[in-house]
C-alpha cells in the first residue's frame, strides 16, 4: 500500500472505470521510493490548482498494475515511477522516472488546459 494522501487505484477494473468516467486523469504507478515520492508530492500539491484533473496513484508491484506496466506507451520504460496521463480514456502522455513539479505542470497545461 502506498503511503500517500492520493486516492489509490487498486484494481485493473477500477483503473478502467476511473479513466472512462473522468475527462482528465493522471495516475502515478510507483513504490515508496526516492524517485517516486517527489512525484506523489507534486500531485498532492497540484490537486487544488487543477480541479479538472483526477490525481491518483497505483502500487507498481500490485499484479493489477499490469494495466500500466504493460501499456504500449510504457515500452522501453526502465525507471520508476511510470506516470500516465489520460484524456477521455486515452493515453495522451506517459513519463518514466522522477519528474519535478514544473515538468508535471507543463504536461497538465499542454493536455488538460
Amino acid at each position: 500500500m502506498l503511503m500517500t494522501n492520493l486516492e489509490h487505484v487498486e484494481t485493473a477494473a477500477q483503473h478502467q472505470e476511473v479513466i472512462e468516467n473522468n475527462e482528465n486523469v493522471m495516475i502515478c504507478a510507483g513504490r515508496m521510493g526516492p524517485m517516486c515520492i517527489p512525484v506523489y508530492a507534486a500531485m498532492e500539491e497540484l490537486r487544488e490548482e487543477y480541479p479538472n484533473v483526477k490525481f491518483m496513484d497505483m502500487d507498481f508491484d500490485s499484479p493489477e498494475a499490469h494495466v500500466i506496466r504493460n501499456a504500449p506507451e510504457c515500452a522501453g520504460f526502465m525507471g520508476l515511477p511510470f506516470t500516465m496521463y489520460y484524456k477521455n480514456g486515452k493515453v495522451v502522455k506517459a513519463t518514466t522516472s522522477i519528474q519535478m513539479k514544473e515538468q508535471v505542470k507543463a504536461i497538465l497545461d499542454e493536455f488538460f488546459a
Binding site: G33, C36, I37, P38, A75, M78, M100
Partner: protein
Amino acid sequence: MENTYDVIILGGGAAGLTAGIYLSRAKVKTLILNEGMVGGQMVLTYEIANYPGIEQTSGFQLSMTMKKQAESFGCEIKQNVQITNIDISGKEKKITVGEETYISKSIIIATGGRSRNLNVEGEETFKGKGISYCATCDGDFYTGQDIIVVGGGNSALEEAVSLTKYASSVTVVHQFDHFQAFEHAVEVAQSNEKINFIMESTIDGFYGDEKLKYVNIKNLKTGEVYKKEIEGVFIFIGYMANSEKIKEQVAVNQYGEIMADKNMATNVSGVFVAGDVREKKIRQITTAVGDGAIAAVNAIEFVQN
C-alpha cells in the same frame, strides 16, 4: 508585518529543518522557503541506517518527522516555491517569491546540493529508458543484463556492488586512475567477480531508439572513443552545490560552495550557511544537522543583538 520574520531559511533539507527547529523553539519568528519538496536529498535516500538514535528509517520518514517537529514549534514552511530574487546586501534581507516579498533580519542559506549529471548527448533523452540515478529504485529492471556504473566515489562503488544482485555484470567507468571511495568500498567492489573496471575513461554519449542501446566511451588518456552496447547505465558522479541564485552576493569557492567560519557565518553580516551548499569535506545528514544547529544558534545571537 505579515511577511516580516526574524530569520528566513532558504532550503528545507536536513540542515534547513534543523535550523528551523532550533530557531522556532527559541521563539524566533522563522520561515523556511524551499524550492522543491521538503527533505531535500534526504528524500532521495531509500534507507538510512547510520543516523544516531534511529536504527533504521527512510529518508522520506526522517524528513517528515523533522518537518513536523519544526512546525510543532511554530516554524512556517513554504515548499515548492519559486524564489525569483534574493537581496542580502542591506540590513533587511529581502527574498521575493513571485508577487510576495519576505523580509528578515538574518538569512540561513541551506539550499543543499544535487546530483551531478554527465551533460553529454542523449542523457536527458534516455533518463528512465536506460539511464538511472537510483540503484534501489530501478535495479530490478536490469535483472540478467550487463550494465555500467559511472563514478568512483563511495556511492558509485557501493551501488555497483548492490546492482550485482540483479545484473549479470557491472562495468565501472571512472575518469581517474584511482578511486575517491573509502578503501573498504574499493576492496569490496574489486573482490566482486561480477564487477570489472574501465579506468581513466568517461561516457561521451548515449544512443538508442525507444531505449538505450549503446554508449560511446572515451579514453581520457589516449582520446580514443569506442562504442559499447549496453542497456543500462547508472550515474553516481557526486554532487554540486545549489548556490546559483546567491553566489554573486556571498563568498564562494571555485566549486560554487559557500564559504563560512566555524560559526557558519558567511562574509555577509547576518547571513549564515548550513549543509551541503557549504564548503566542506563530509556531506552526511548528520553533518548537515550539525551545521543547521550551529547556524541557528548564531543567527539567534545575531538577531537578539
